[in-house]
Symmetry: C2
Subunit: 337 residues, 2 copies
Amino acid sequence: MKAIGFKTSLPISEADSFILFDKEIPVPANRELLVKVQAISVNPVDFKVRQNSLKDKVQETPKIIGWDATGIVEAVGETVSLFKKGDMVFYAGDITKDGCNQEYQLIDERIVGIAPKNISIEQAVAMPLTSLTAWEILFDRMRLSAEKDKGKSILIIGGAGGMGSVAIQLAKKLLGLTVIATASRPETIDWCKKMGADHVVNHRNLVESVKNAGFEQVDLILDFVDVNQYWEAFVALIKPQGRIGSISAAAQPVNLQQLKSKSVSFHWELMFTRSTFQADDMIEQHTILNNIAGLLDDGTIQSTLHTTVHGFSVEHLKEAHRLLESGTAIGKMVIAF
Amino acid sequence: MKAIGFKTSLPISEADSFILFDKEIPVPANRELLVKVQAISVNPVDFKVRQNSLKDKVQETPKIIGWDATGIVEAVGETVSLFKKGDMVFYAGDITKDGCNQEYQLIDERIVGIAPKNISIEQAVAMPLTSLTAWEILFDRMRLSAEKDKGKSILIIGGAGGMGSVAIQLAKKLLGLTVIATASRPETIDWCKKMGADHVVNHRNLVESVKNAGFEQVDLILDFVDVNQYWEAFVALIKPQGRIGSISAAAQPVNLQQLKSKSVSFHWELMFTRSTFQADDMIEQHTILNNIAGLLDDGTIQSTLHTTVHGFSVEHLKEAHRLLESGTAIGKMVIAF
């Protein structure tokens, strides 16, 4: 079978930043499914791992990345109980294992959902990683609920990206929050509004932009860009008893004390935590993906698919990485096999 | 009426670190109650405010501190609806206003509870500030519930102090958590066990102590001592998807990034946040105090009272501050008027 990977970390412009190679189709064991991949999507984590994981190292067998796939179950391990051969599934995956940039992939059934039925596979594959992340941060980390939090305001930094696009929808449709999203170009502003944002503000002069939209402070903040860059703005903008969630990074130490007088909570979210640490509740990701499939099927939320390219090739994968590295991607880019 | 305060920040050993003075009995307005104070208790915040609030400053009228009182409602403001003259109440208070180190105090009814009926006023007055704090951090900040969190492990740093003593009980009795508390002297170890701790460990070599008690990692951490001092231990000890709560301080910046791979949440709690910012849900403190009174009355939790002195005097207040400043206080010290 065909797989695409890299032997060392190279700029995407280099010929060998991705290489096509042959690999044997693996055999599922225990709770693993063997999935024939039909489409994948790309996320910022992809290029970060490509750029950094094999820096100054060369490995013989190319490293396979990619964490968003839909496909069909071809075979199952001996203790699989949630799926059977022939099931259409979608999933993000496990960063400690081979990714989905290959024609067949092994994947633990506990982090796989039944694919939505009423939308295309391209629309479906845009969703797993981002919706798992947004769901986990809103419901598992922040523990928000419509009952307690309906009507509160949420500021989403990076509204038009893959993460922002689904977070806007979940915040709006499942929690009844008032959503203020950041975007600065006409096409990203339009996209945020299409996703359901009530207000779209410029991320430059964030405090002032939010005030101009009519909010002195906000109850909740979701950061998909950079903690350090926006820290002082977050300190100013967050309401007493507010919550700040982030999936980005804080490369520099932060003055946590600044949040104390307001009794603010700070929540990290990494979609790979449950699988990396083989958490007892890893199967929650199965449940979340099934919930997301239901919400897509009944039209509560819409796919964040923006662009599809057809054909699983080195050139298409490079194109996708180039787009994400530019920081200008809107919604999700999908590669249909 | 009699009040005790200070005109400038002085070491407790100085004659004028507290001074007795006369003051007119104030008149309640709006939602204020006028309470005839019958007993007070002291908390670490008292000596921190005494030591720091009037550093290199002298004010004409002495500053009145103290944030734990029980007493009887003597008069009510025109829009008071929760209490009437003659009600026995208990409360912590509002750090932006005069405290309870005086014979009569004005207090917003939204942060006052009906005093417990089946225990002494000394037992009652030990509870408001610490139980409000512990309740808010467990239920409002971390959003824990017995339904979701029963059986999880919680490490409580500073188990034998006023905060630890009530946090152990709420964690155990209301949430069904397994409680590991820190204490190092025989009398503090005994006290933690009396409060219901399942395990008591030494705070020195914390990671090793917790492991020796049978826990590689814990689901939850409550810090009542110092964030910076224990940061590396917290990073090592917290389970993936865990929660760390603190009421102490982080004088130095922290490397928040260290908590990311485990998707950990960090929660600040300051009992004064709701009243300082006049939060919309300030009345929650009325509800919490009524809940606490109920739990004390039906014996679910016990008062953390350790020592009572009789008589509202400068000497007794100094004695209480000296004890807290020593860092060796067990449970709560109460001054009955």
